[in-house]
Amino acid sequence: MIVLDSVHKSYVTGNNSLHVLKGIDLEIGAGEFVSIMGSSGSGKSTLLNILGILDDYDSGSYVLNGKKIKSLNETKAAMLRNEMIGFVFQSFNLISFKNARENVALPLYYQKVSRRKRNVIAMEYLDRMGLKDWADHLPSELSGGQKQRVAIARALISNPKVILADEPTGALDTTTSFEVMDILKEVNDQGITVIIVTHEHDIASMTRKIIRLRDGVIAEVIKNGDLQMYRDRVLAE
C-alpha cells in the first residue's frame, strides 16, 4: 500500500537548512495497523504530512497504492487526499459552524455527491459511531470523545484506503482514548490501513507494528514477538 524509498526532506528557513528526514525506507502493506513513535523533532509529523500528501519531499520516492506521489499540483493532491486518505487529528478539526452530519458529509461535497445523498451516507456513518442522535449538534455541544468519533466518521465516509491519525487520543482521557482505539481497530478489521502517530506507549502497543523514529531515520521496527514483549512491558509499567 505504502512504499517509501530513502525519502529525504529538509526545511529551509533563510540561510538555515534543517534536515528532518534523512532517508526513510518504509513499507506498509494493505490492512496493516501501524503506529509511528518518536520524540518531538524526530520527524514523525513531517513523515505523516508526506504520507498524507500534505507536504512534498526532496528526494527518494513515495508510492501510494501503486501511484508515485511526487510534486503533484494542489488540485491533484487534493483529489488524491479525498479519495485515498482519511485524516483524524488530535484537535479533531471539525468545522465549528457546521453540525455533526454536515462535518461528516464534507468530503463527499468535494466529490460532488448530491446533498441529499451525502446526508444519508453521513447519517449511516454517524449511526455506526453511535452518534445518530447527535447529528444536528454543533461540535461545541459534543464531548471530546464524541468529537473524535465524528472526525473518524468523516475520515471514513470517502472510503479511503488509508486512515492517518495524528495523536488521535492526545486530547482525550484514558477511557475515551481506549474507546477511540477500539473504533480504529474495528476500522482496521474492515481492511483499511490505519497509521497512528503517537507518543503514548500504551496506545502504540495496541497497534500491530511500531515504527520508531529517531533523528530523521527509522531507529527500530517492533512487530510480531517483539511487539508482545513490548506490550507486556508497557502493561507492567
Binding site: 500534505l54 507536504d55 487529528f89 484537535s91 478539526n93 468530503p107 461535497y109 466529490q111
Partner: protein, 418 residues
C-alpha cells in the same frame, strides 16, 4: 459553483459576523449612494441648463447691424450698415451651412393693440414662417404665419396668450380683428410659452409689416439656424463664413464687430455641454474614488476573514478541497457582500433622486419652479446597470487578494496553528 451548499456556507459566516459584514457593506453602499446622488445632481443641472436653451433651437444664430467702427475700402468709419431683402434671398438661396432663415423688421415706437374697449401695448415680432421652428413657438389654437400670408401681404397676426387674455378675456379670438397701430389685423392663432416669457408678444408676417409700416426693403435683424454640427469649431466656422459674406456684400471690415453683431447659440450651447461633460467626468472620478475606498474596506475585511478561517480552510484542503473551490468560496462571499450592499446604496441613491425629482415636478406644476436651473435629476437606466456591473467587478477585485491568500494556505501549517 452555484449550488446551494456554497451559499449556505457563505450565509453561515455572514451570520456569524453580522456587524462586521454590515460595516463593510455600508462603506460600499455609501460609495455607490454618493455616486448616484452626484450623477443625478449633475444630470439635473445639465437638464436644467439645457431646458434654458430649449426656448430656441440650439443651432440658432442672430445677426444685427450697426455703424462701422473701422475705415474700410475708402469708406470712413461711422457708416451705418443695413441688412435688406436681398440679404434674405442670399441667405436662403446661396449661403453655406444655413438651414432656416427669418428676418425681422422693428416697428417704430409703442404700438397699441386694441379690441373693442380693451387695449394694451405689446411687442410685435415680425417674422417668416420658419421662426416657429427656430424659436420653438407653441400654438395653443389656430395656426402660425404661413407662406401664403407672406406672399399676399395678408394682415394677419398670431397673438401671445397674455394678449389674448388682455384683449379677449373669455371670447374666442380666432377670426376676430384687432387694431394694431390703427391697422386692423385678423387673429389667426394664439401662441403659448410655458415659461411665459413670450406671452406678451405677437407675430406678424414680415412682408406685411415692411409694407404697412414703411420699411422699404430694410431688414433689422436676421435669425438663422445653422446646420447641426458636432464641434464648437465647426459652429464658429459657419458663423464666421456668414460674417465674411455679409462684410463683402455691405463693404465693411469682417473684423468690425460694431458694423455687424451676432450671437451664435450653437457655440454657446456646445461650450456649456462641454462643461457638463467635464463635470460628469469629475463626478465619476469622485464616485469611483469613494467606491474604491469601499472596495479596499471589503478587501481588508476579507483578508481578516481569511486569516480567521485559515484553520477551516486547512481542514477543507486536507479533506480534498481544491484551490479553485477555496477561491470560489472567498470570491463569492466578497461579491455577495459588495453586490447586495451596493445594490442597496444604488436603490437608495436612485430613490432619493427620484423623490427629489417628484418634488421638483410638483413645484414646476404649481408654477413656483420656473427659475430653477435644475430639472429631472435622475440617473438613467444604463448608468445604473453600469454601476451594478462595476459593483460585481469591485466585489471580485476586493475578494481577489484574500482569495489568493486563502488558496495558498498550507493545510499542515493551518492545522498546527493552535
Amino acid at each position: 459553483m452555484f449550488d446551494i451548499d456554497i451559499w449556505q456556507e457563505i450565509f453561515s459566516t455572514i451570520r456569524k459576523n453580522k456587524l462586521r459584514t454590515f460595516l463593510t457593506g455600508f462603506s460600499v453602499a455609501w460609495g455607490i449612494f454618493m455616486l448616484m446622488v452626484l450623477l443625478g445632481s449633475g444630470n439635473g443641472l445639465q437638464n436644467g441648463v439645457r431646458s434654458q436653451f430649449s426656448d430656441n433651437a440650439e443651432n440658432i444664430m442672430w445677426m444685427w447691424t450697426g455703424e462701422t467702427s473701422i475705415p474700410y475700402k475708402g469708406y470712413k468709419e461711422g457708416r451705418e450698415i443695413r441688412f435688406n431683402n436681398e440679404d434674405y434671398d442670399y441667405l436662403v438661396g446661396k449661403a453655406e451651412g444655413v438651414d432656416k432663415v427669418s428676418a425681422r423688421f422693428y416697428l417704430r415706437g409703442d404700438i397699441t393693440y386694441s379690441y373693442g374697449k380693451e387695449y394694451g401695448s405689446f411687442t410685435t415680432s415680425t417674422c417668416y414662417p420658419a421662426l416657429a421652428d427656430m424659436e420653438k413657438i407653441k400654438i395653443s389654437s389656430g395656426r402660425f404665419i404661413n407662406d401664403l400670408d407672406m406672399m399676399d401681404y395678408r394682415k394677419v397676426v398670431v397673438i401671445g396668450d397674455d394678449i389674448r387674455k388682455a384683449l379677449f378675456k373669455e371670447v374666442d379670438p380666432l377670426g376676430k380683428y384687432i387694431n394694431i397701430g390703427n391697422v386692423p389685423f385678423m387673429v389667426v392663432g394664439v401662441s403659448y410659452d410655458p415659461r411665459s416669457r413670450d406671452n406678451r408678444q405677437a407675430y406678424m408676417p414680415f412682408t406685411t409689416a415692411q409694407r404697412i409700416y414703411g420699411g422699404g426693403n430694410r431688414v433689422h435683424t436676421f435669425a438663422i439656424t445653422t446646420e447641426m454640427v458636432k464641434t464648437t469649431e465647426e459652429a464658429e466656422a459657419i458663423g464666421e463664413n456668414i460674417r465674411q459674406q455679409m462684410a463683402s456684400r455691405h463693404s465693411f471690415d469682417p473684423t468690425d464687430q460694431k458694423a455687424m453683431g451676432s450671437f451664435n447659440m450653437l457655440t454657446e450651447y456646445m461650450r456649456t455641454m462641454k462643461i457638463f461633460q467635464a463635470i460628469k467626468m469629475f463626478v465619476w472620478i469622485i464616485g469611483i474614488g469613494t467606491l474604491i475606498a469601499g472596495i479596499v474596506g471589503v478587501s481588508n475585511i476579507m483578508l481578516i476573514l481569511v486569516k480567521e478561517r485559515t484553520r477551516e480552510i486547512g481542514i477543507r484542503k486536507a479533506l480534498g478541497a481544491s484551490p479553485a473551490s477555496v477561491i470560489g468560496l472567498i470570491l463569492l462571499e466578497s461579491i455577495l457582500i459588495t453586490t447586495i450592499a451596493g445594490y442597496i446604496g444604488l436603490v437608495l441613491g436612485v430613490g432619493l433622486m427620484e423623490g427629489f425629482n417628484y418634488a421638483l415636478e410638483q413645484m414646476m406644476a404649481s408654477g413656483s419652479g420656473e427659475q430653477i436651473f435644475f430639472m429631472n435629476p435622475t440617473v438613467d437606466f444604463g448608468t445604473a446597470v453600469a454601476a451594478t456591473l462595476i459593483l460585481i467587478l469591485s466585489g471580485a477585485l476586493a475578494g481577489y487578494i484574500p482569495a489568493r491568500k486563502a488558496a495558498k494556505v498550507k493545510p499542515i501549517e493551518a492545522l498546527h496553528d493552535e
